[in-house]
Symmetry: C2
Subunit: 147 residues, 2 copies
């Protein structure tokens, strides 16, 4: 099992990052405009759609201001059964986001792609919370021939 790891620091109160991960408007404003669901309650289902397909997640754990855990229940076969884990912590002026997309079975080329693309979307999350403007799909930065 292999994981995608990232870390960003958002110059904002951690509650604002938590809100961007647990509300429909927040998620739609940094990840994809085509988001269904809110993610504010354990068990909530989230449907994220992109030009080429998408992911369905179920919220497995929530600890306000500290943690959000999603399980991928539908989408590309490499994603199904993996978990997206958000650990939050306030460190002086920064809300630190420790991100892990865990449980990939193999480090396939698509996993390399998804790692870089997650980084791009995390910078969109940082921008959204700090400036009010993110770059969600379809306004996201293209990184390669896949997306």
């Amino acid at each position: 099992m292999v994981d995608i790891l990232h870390r960003i620091g958002v110059k904002a109160p951690v509650a604002e990052v938590y809100s961007a991960l647990t509300t429909n408007k927040g998620l739609a404003d940094w990840w994809t405009k085509d988001t269904e669901g809110a993610g504010g309650e354990v068990g909530d289902e989230l449907r994220f759609r992109f030009a080429a397909g998408g992911f369905d997640m179920q919220v497995r754990e929530l600890d306000p201001g500290k943690r959000v855990l999603w399980e991928v229940v539908d989408g590309p076969e490499e994603w199904v059964g993996t978990h997206v884990d958000w650990v939050l912590d306030q460190k002086d002026d920064y809300a630190i986001v420790l991100f892990t997309h865990q449980g990939w079975r193999e480090p396939v080329e698509f996993m390399h792609h998804c790692s870089t693309k997650w980084g791009v979307y995390l910078m969109s999350l940082k921008s959204l919370v700090e400036t009010g403007t993110g770059a969600p799909h379809p306004h996201d930065l293209r990184i390669d021939d896949i997306d």
Copy 2:
């Protein structure tokens, strides 16, 4: 052992990406302006410096247009002994870069940070080759409280 994975597609001939990885000017124009060494021969030593420190690498393998492999010989203890592996391939209009920073002993918080930061620098490499302008240190995008 855990790895950092990334993938970008650069709209250019793969030889141009290979050049940006094996010349002093190329490296200085996307990673850090403070680069010593060229990296065009196996055994070359490269010294990359940033505000907070840096990394010394030795070139272990070179296959023009296909692969560049560096070993970290000095720098933060988490980096020493790890390898930075660049696998290149031309796929239609895109030079595909499959990047692996391999051999981390533990998925520490600094590894999460370095994963995101590598992504930012890879987008700088893509920009350099496609447009002529990268964003090397000290013109790089700050991602968190570390850098």
